[in-house]
């Protein structure tokens, strides 16, 4: 275990490097969650589409993602994506994470879409709105609102999962810790420092998620 003074010296001495890494961690997380929301919405819609074959496609995607470890997916997707088209590193890494997040987000949306009572759909249809219009104007806005708290949690999970992008050359927090750490033969100090960064980020996000939850439950009254 490193001494406290050594820990703080490194913590503050290298803070610019860590802050850059933290920003990359946040960028990876935001992009992979935003893209994951698009992917997740797409597969959730397949699943609730009433067309069986589309539902199966969605099932297979979700099963593949939920049935394998993220680290395996990251390696396969990163190199798999590369062999199809050459995205810049950041986008390849984000897409790999997004495909992972997408499966979990698809499940979130499927749940909240199905939680909207059938009467809402029927009210829209009875007013002459097409299925697509009803979905877009009536169902999805409500499903999105209900999805906010679980999406917040998925964001926190995604933040932590982004650490595995270290293995595909992203200089995010964990990568910086192990790279600088093993370069200096002093991994423990660096690992403890990034752990502190993660703890702070997660604490802030948890507070935000709780605020959203509270606000929604008040405005639902």
């Amino acid at each position: 275990m490193p001494s406290l003074s050594h820990f703080f010296e490194t913590f503050f001495g290298k803070s610019n490097v860590f802050i850059d890494a933290m920003l990359l961690t946040l960028e990876l997380t935001v992009v992979s969650i935003v893209v994951g929301i698009i992917i997740g919405l797409f597969f959730a819609l397949l699943k609730v589409s009433n067309i069986k074959i589309l539902g199966y496609i969605s099932d297979v995607y979700i099963y593949l993602v939920r049935g394998t470890p993220l680290i395996v997916q990251i390696f396969i997707l990163y190199f798999g994506i590369s062999s199809i088209f050459l995205l810049p590193d950041f986008w390849a890494a984000s897409l790999a994470l997004a495909l992972h997040n997408g499966a979990y987000i698809a499940e979130i949306f499927r749940g909240t879409i199905q939680s909207i009572e059938k009467g809402q759909l029927e009210a829209g249809r009875s007013l002459g709105m097409s299925p697509a219009l009803t979905l877009r104007r009536i169902i999805l806005p409500q499903a999105f609102r209900r999805a906010l708290p679980p999406l917040g949690n998925q964001f926190i999970i995604g933040l932590k999962d982004s650490s595995l992008a270290a293995f595909i050359s992203m200089d995010e927090l964990f990568n910086v810790a192990t790279t600088l750490g093993s370069n200096n033969f002093d991994e423990m100090t660096y690992l403890l420092i990034v752990a502190v960064y993660y703890l702070i980020l997660v604490a802030i996000l948890t507070i935000i998620v709780n605020l959203i939850e509270k606000k929604l439950s008040i405005s639902d009254r």
Binding site: S82, D89, G181, F185
Partner: protein, 238 residues
């Protein structure tokens, strides 16, 4: 963690074993056979050292990033893993005398115009994480990407990612032999590779240095180098 202490002060995890670590993902220095048994130049050097010490050799694979911390925290007695000596590292661990000399080389795709270190400026360079090659690369460019293993970095290069990889010339050569679509360019510098021993074990350091000297003298090191590289990389180049 408490290790067992021999009469002469040498500390070992098991008193009759020499547990040494390598990554197993650094062909031909350390790699696994199809039954997952680890072998390679580093591993055979480690085994030879163990024999000279009169101990049972126990090779152990730890992913490259964790090797040094593994040695420091007592998960292995030593690392025979192609670690390059540098002064900063010496603050945290002890290095033996070098058991081979090597150097980083620039690797690119065959169609690349990039030839030497001057051309590296502003280019995207990949290297393996935690290796000194990443530092070397950083001297020439700000745009560095790191991977868990050299092979992964070279693989990414051959698939069209990054402009160059800096890695050990032997590793590059092996990858080219395996069919990677890359070529070697300038050899950058010379470096010394040593066995890593924890700092609190000076007696073991002394005994391993003695063993290495014996292996140099009786030609074992040279023989192993010939076997793996077709040349002797264990003597200091002039």
């Amino acid at each position: 963690a408490e290790k067992e202490q021999l009469e002469d002060g040498t500390k070992l995890i098991q008193k009759d074993q020499f547990v040494f670590a390598s990554s197993g993902e650094f062909k031909p220095f350390s790699f696994v056979k199809d039954d997952m048994e680890v072998t390679g130049f580093d591993v055979e050097v480690g085994k030879a050292v163990a024999e000279k010490l009169g101990l049972e050799p126990v090779p152990k694979r730890i992913k490259f990033k964790g090797i040094v911390e593994g040695v420091k925290t007592g998960r292995a007695d030593a690392a025979v893993a192609s670690h390059t000596v540098n002064p900063q590292r010496s603050k945290h661990v002890s290095f033996t005398t070098p058991y081979y000399y090597s150097g980083p080389q620039i690797f690119v795709r065959p169609d690349s115009k990039l030839k030497n270190i001057e051309d590296l400026k502003g280019k995207e360079i990949a290297a393996s994480k935690g290796s000194t090659y990443a530092d070397t690369a950083a001297e020439y460019s700000k745009n560095i990407k790191t991977y868990d293993s050299d092979i992964t970095a070279l693989k990414a290069l051959s698939e069209g990612r990054h402009d160059a990889v800096i890695t050990d010339f032997v590793t590059g050569k092996t990858a080219i032999k395996a069919g990677f679509d890359i070529v070697g360019r300038q050899l950058i510098e010379r470096s010394e590779q040593s066995i890593v021993i924890p700092q609190d074990n000076p007696q073991l350091l002394k005994r391993v240095n003695t063993a290495l000297e014996e292996l140099r003298q009786d030609g074992t090191l040279k023989k192993l180098s010939q076997k793996y590289f077709g040349e002797d990389i264990t003597t200091k180049p002039e």
